[in-house]
């Protein structure tokens, strides 16, 4: 399993999100390296198809594909939608765990 964590340093949610990813991996018994990529420029955002920070991909697939709709590649914070419908700057652990299990919500 290839796990990528892309982030923009000016968006403060990346530390929390990385901690959630690590916690989710431990809970699901997933042993894999996390490829951590800091996106530093608009050009890199384009090249990496980065719509915002943080972005987590499992085997090349974004953990929140619905969140990609209508978004442009940019150095910015990304909006996730929690299960209760509220916006959040980081994905919920439950979403990350579901994706690690291969579940599609």
């Amino acid at each position: 399993m290839r796990i990528e964590f892309l982030y923009y340093a000016d968006c403060p949610s990346h530390e929390e999100a990385l901690a959630r990813l690590k916690g989710a991996m431990a809970a699901e018994g997933v042993e894999a390296d996390i490829h951590i990529i800091e996106v530093k420029s608009d050009q890199e955002a384009q090249q990496l198809r980065f719509i915002g920070s943080p972005t987590i991909r499992i085997d090349g697939e974004d953990i929140d594909p619905e969140g990609l709709e209508g978004q442009q590649y940019a150095l910015t914070c990304r909006v996730y939608t929690k299960r209760d419908g509220r916006p959040s700057p980081a994905p919920e652990t439950a979403l990350i765990r579901a994706r690690l299990r291969g579940e599609i919500q």
């Binding site: 000016d10 968006c11 403060p12 949610s13 608009d42 442009q72 940019a74 910015t76 914070c77 990304r78 909006v79 996730y80 509220r86 916006p87 959040s88 700057p89």
Partner: protein
Amino acid sequence: MAISVGSTAPDFKLKGVDGKEYSLGAFADRKAVAVIFSCNHCPYVLAWEDRMIAIQRDYEARGAALIAINSNNAAAYPDDSFENMVKRSQQQGFSFPYVHDETQDVAHAYGATHTPEVFLLDAERKVRYHGAIDDNYDDASAVKQHYLRDALDAVLEGGEPSVTETPPVGCTVKWK
């Protein structure tokens, strides 16, 4: 660097989503004005937005007002365009002015660097609190320190906020 607590806040003249122009003079009858640098797309703003609306609702009758200023570079971040500001205000039912700092001069004058970022002004338009709205962007029910509400309570009662400055938490202002 942000203007310091105790300093006099800069005035401005900015176009609102309602088509009117707003300056600090528009709030001449308000004993406190919460100037909040904000935008349309930042998830921290979105997470705190309901609380901004609630603060306006809860403090209006007590003589306070809130104004949200969007200074983001809309050319690079189209979600933060004036057109989208109008939509956002209507969708969310903002009861406070939402104004456009297209040149980013006001953000520079205040030294704002994040969204949301609060500058609470008293009747003399001196900064009495600067920083975050509260201590938990993620969960309103888990807030332990209501920084802006507490500062409003103190200022409106003629006292000093116990907390005058906190680091703003949110996205960075998107500069041209």
